[in-house]
Amino acid sequence: MALDLALYAVLAALISSAVSATAFRIPAVLRFLAFPLIGVSGACGAVAGVMALTDGSVLSTSLPFGLPWLEWQLRLDVLSGLFVTIIGIVTFAVAVYGPGYVREYEHGSHPLAQLGIFTGLFIAGMFLVVLANDAFLFMISWELMSLSSYFLVMFHHEQAANRRAGFLYLLMAHVGGLAILLSYGVLATFGDGFSFEAMRNAPLSPLWASVAFALAFIGFGMKAGLVPLHAWLPEAHPVAPSHISALMSGVMLKVAIYGFIRMTFDLLGEIQWGWGVVALLLGSVSALLGVLYAIQQNDLKRLLAYSSIENIGIIFLGLGMSMIFIGTGLPALGAIALVAALFHTFNHAMFKSLLFLGAGNIVQRAREQNLERMGGLMIRLPYTGVFFLIGCVSIAALPPFNGFVSEWLTFQAALQATALENGVLRTLIPFTAAMLALTGALSLACFVKLYGVAFLGQPRSRRVRHARRTALGIRVSQGLLAVICLLAGVFPNTVVNLLNTIPNMFIGTDLAAATSRGWLWLTPIAPEVASYSAPLVLVGILAAWLLTWWFIHPRGARGVRRGPAWDCGFGPLGPSMQYTSTAFAMPIRRIFQPVWGIEEKIEREVDSHGLRVTSISHQQHIYDRSWATLYEPISRWVLSAARRVSRLQQGNIRVYIAYSFFTLLLLLWVIS
């Protein structure tokens, strides 16, 4: 039943992509047919996923496609269930959001059909990836996902920068795909067979298992955007239309996480704690660097993209910890870390999509993607303002929203490090926890900056000042996600109960203790060790707020008087006097100096006497260090190799004959 629903979800997505083909003629098809179908797909997916999570059974079937000796195997277990849910919810939100968003394209020069077709394929691909139960179908849908999202990234292909981003994205997606393929190849070789069942029973030597793990880690890490394999992410995500960015950042990265979990916890069998260490370290590094780079961005969507890297890092940190615990024979603790990671996966999907949808609305209404020219949007786009605030609060991990719960669980897991035998690990985990703490604080700073600069203060450009009118669907979709963020934060027990089935399936233990004391209390290890009651916290905040208001707020007279800002008595305020995004991030830039590559240029113009400074211009460019260290050398090497090779084709026929001649002689000599 659940599986059928999931398949219907895939089917609906495919149909929607098929009908979008007609948008060449009638653009309105997208609004009135394609997006509703996607909505159906999303709804089916969400329901199917929740069903799978609740009854925790394993459903599998096969479709009459694929290799002659191996049909497409599909399987819906709790892990797939979780991710189907995530994909479904976000897809649904996007479907609600889409019509209002694409309306303006209908008059533009961009072919809407392209958008519709590939959106459908993209979603279908993602669903199929998490449903696949054999390596072949997995790879097909995986690459389908990459390829269609690439076409979506290339939707605005006029600017050279976007083309470059698209190319980079496709290239890295392909390389990652090959790595994954190879790691499946290892498994298939030992388990002879591409079906996951065969791979589960593959008798792997620890060495080969590690090889497979390394390949999978590279492949999935590349897709998920782990530092230093992240270069494509901040390029590609901002370029796509915003609801696609939401899907990519909110869901596609999660699909990579899914692949990683499936590979490590399910297929590879015995988990080695060494792998956990790798994931832990790279995860924390990605988290820290991700947020540090995010905070320096001035492009709204680019900032969000980097923050995705950060959150992926946090997720991998949790996974790594869980692998360490499991690998060292502490499955119960491993379960906590795993649940924390999964919880954060879910949360990130929700609030990052929410933020991207909001960003899309801003970009469309204000025609502006650069924070330096924004400001005062809170008043102009009130709904987006509120929902975006909720998104920021959640991603900054403030109680009682969902982001906080997952980080809290992660910390709780980290605090159990003392249970480990190995002293090195015991010291390593608090270290990473400290990095996580730093990340959390920085992400708070980052989103204060984002919200403060974009939504508060005065508008810094004309177009932003005149931003108005948000379509209903756009508001509703954001509202939906915002509510989910709040609910998941206030009732974590329900979520944890659902997630519990997953560690149960993999390692046979779960956090039964976590929710043992009813829906009110979340106690991952034991009540006396740590407890958190989100509902009460929410009640408390509201109560305290209302009481204060009730006490403080004067009855009747003496309301507020509006006047010009005081500003220590300086003159009237202009938008240009406000703290800019660059200025806001300056202290942090100084504190963590060498992390970024910074090109700064300050030009002073003085008047004829050279006394008075007439104008100062300040330019600054922050570039990603991973380029100079990793990517450029590789491309240089390949190009020089190509140059050397091209000497082969030097044009003289006698030389060519000589090649043939000497090849012949060589071979004759070899065989005799």
């Binding site: 190879l182 190509a642 090779v645 084709q649």
Partner: protein
């Protein structure tokens, strides 16, 4: 039985007919008609084979088994689609004044002659005839390469002619040696080159002679396959000849040459299996070495290309290398993958060349830097080229991915430490292709670039078939592949 003769006679007579006809327009249509007829004939024969298995003509001149039957159908099919494409394209060429009506006649009749030689090479049961046919293919196409009479095209044709001539001569020497070896086993001169006979006695043939023979055959036919370092003629011929020619060269000729190599390997392997001989895998090793070398080197060649057709010809070399490698590995899985790859590659590559033809027509040049913004100019062509490239780059759900998947897995199983090489080769080739294709299809339209009257039906057809093969292989085809695998490796796959 006479279905075979039908297949050969139809295009032959067609060629003579086309040599008569003066009007290019009529010739264009007739060309299509004849190809269609040939295709129907081949389908008819395929059905016969499907019904009652492989057969040998009474005079044991022709032999049809699972290995060549699908190649025959494929060849005649690509023959049609390319003919469909070449009709408007050659008219454009004529209107540009690059050729005169006389040469158009030459073109059309040679087109059919070429098909004849291909089909002959596939159907014949005689190694000698196989050689004759492949040499004949060279002779038929060499004049077409120089059809435009530009200095470059003449140079390309000369190189093509001489290099392939030399190579093919070596192949003949190899054939002579095989005959010589066979002569001592069965003392019946007439049958000494018949493949069926040879195959039956292959295990008794003298390993020394056969190994020498195989070297000559490999270098000879390998030149035709375009194996590095014998490949130099290939990019020249592809880039300078008329585009339909490039399509059939890449799509068919290379396949047939590879077919010849594999047939020879099938004879050599049992012979070398003889205990007195040291390395029974010799043929396989040689093919693997050649294949891997071609694969990697061709991938690197992609980067600095300035001529779009040249670039895709290198990609053909790359894929030929991959197949040779896979055949070299032997083993059912690899062979199955390679057979599948032969099909999907020739379909995809000819489709790409057709799209490229339209693209060059739109831009009026073959220089990559001059071709821009195709998707905006003419979406059909742009998308055709883009999807085709994605397909050949091995993106699912297209068939190329499936075959590459199989071959990679096979490598993983038997030569695990070679897989990284293959994978990096794939990645490099992929980047090389796309960094050139990207700016061509995307971006703004240069001024004065107009859509042209293009027929994208063939491209769509080919790509759809490849897609179909990628999603699921029809059972009869799978069976043929399996039979062929049985023939080549001696063990079933399915």
């Amino acid at each position: 039985m006479n279905s075979v003769y039908l297949i050969l006679l139809l295009p032959l007579s067609g060629a003579l007919l086309l040599a008569m006809i003066r009007s290019p327009v009529v010739a264009g249509w007739l060309n299509i008609g004849i190809s269609v007829a040939t295709f129907l004939a081949s389908v008819n024969m395929a059905l016969i084979v499907l019904r009652d298995g492989p057969f040998l003509t009474d005079n044991s001149m022709f032999y049809i088994d699972a290995f060549n039957v699908y190649l025959i159908v494929l060849t005649s099919f690509v023959g049609i689609t390319t003919a469909i494409f070449s009709r408007p394209y050659m008219r454009y060429v004529l209107s540009e004044g690059w050729v005169n009506p006389k040469r158009m006649r030459l073109y059309h009749s040679m087109y059919q002659i070429f098909l004849v030689t291909m089909l002959l090479a596939l159907t014949t049961n005689n190694l000698g005839i196989l050689w004759v046919a492949i040499e004949g293919a060279t002779l038929a196409t060499v004049l077409l390469v120089s059809l435009y009479r530009t200095p470059e095209s003449v140079e390309a044709a000369w190189k093509y002619f001489v290099l392939c001539g030399v190579g093919i001569a070596q192949a003949l020497f190899g054939t002579v040696l095989v005959y010589f070896a066979a002569d001592h086993v069965l003392h019946m001169p007439e049958a000494g080159l018949q493949w069926t006979v040879l195959y039956s006695v292959a295990s008794q043939l003298d390993p020394t002679v056969m190994s020498i023979a195989f070297v000559f055959l490999l270098v000879g036919y390998g030149t035709k396959v375009g194996l590095v370092p014998l490949h130099n003629w290939l990019p020249d011929a592809h880039s300078e000849g008329p585009t339909p020619m490039s399509a059939v060269l890449s799509g068919l000729l290379l396949n047939v040459a590879l077919y010849a190599v594999v047939r020879c390997k099938m004879l050599v392997d049992p012979a070398l299996a003889d205990p007195g001989w040291g390395t029974p895998q010799l043929a396989g090793y040689l093919m693997m070495a050649f294949g891997l070398l071609s694969f990697v080197v061709a991938g690197l060649f992609l980067y600095r290309q300035q001529d779009i057709k040249r670039m895709f010809s290198y990609s053909s070399i790359e894929h030929m290398g991959l197949m040779t490698f896979a055949f070299g590995i032997g083993g059912p899985l690899a062979t199955f993958g390679a057979l599948l790859h032969m099909t999907v590659h020739s379909l995809t590559k000819s489709a790409i060349f057709i799209a490229v033809g339209h693209a060059t027509h739109i831009a009026g040049t073959q220089f990559i830097d001059k071709i821009r913004g195709l998707i905006k100019t003419q979406p059909a062509v742009g998308w055709g080229l883009l999807i085709g490239t994605a397909t050949i780059a091995g993106f699912p759900p297209f068939g190329v991915f499936m075959s590459e998947f199989l071959m990679l897995t096979a490598t993983m199983q038997s030569w695990p430490w070679l897989t990284p090489v293959l994978l990096s080769g794939l990645a490099i080739a992929f980047a090389g292709l796309f960094r050139n294709i990207h700016p061509m299809v995307y971006g703004a339209v240069p001024e004065g670039q107009q859509p042209v009257q293009a027929n994208m039906l063939p491209v769509a057809l080919h790509l759809l078939i490849v897609l179909w093969l990628g999603i699921s292989i029809p059972s009869f085809l799978a069976n043929w592949f399996d039979q062929a695998t049985l023939l080549i490796t001696g063990s079933h796959f399915l």
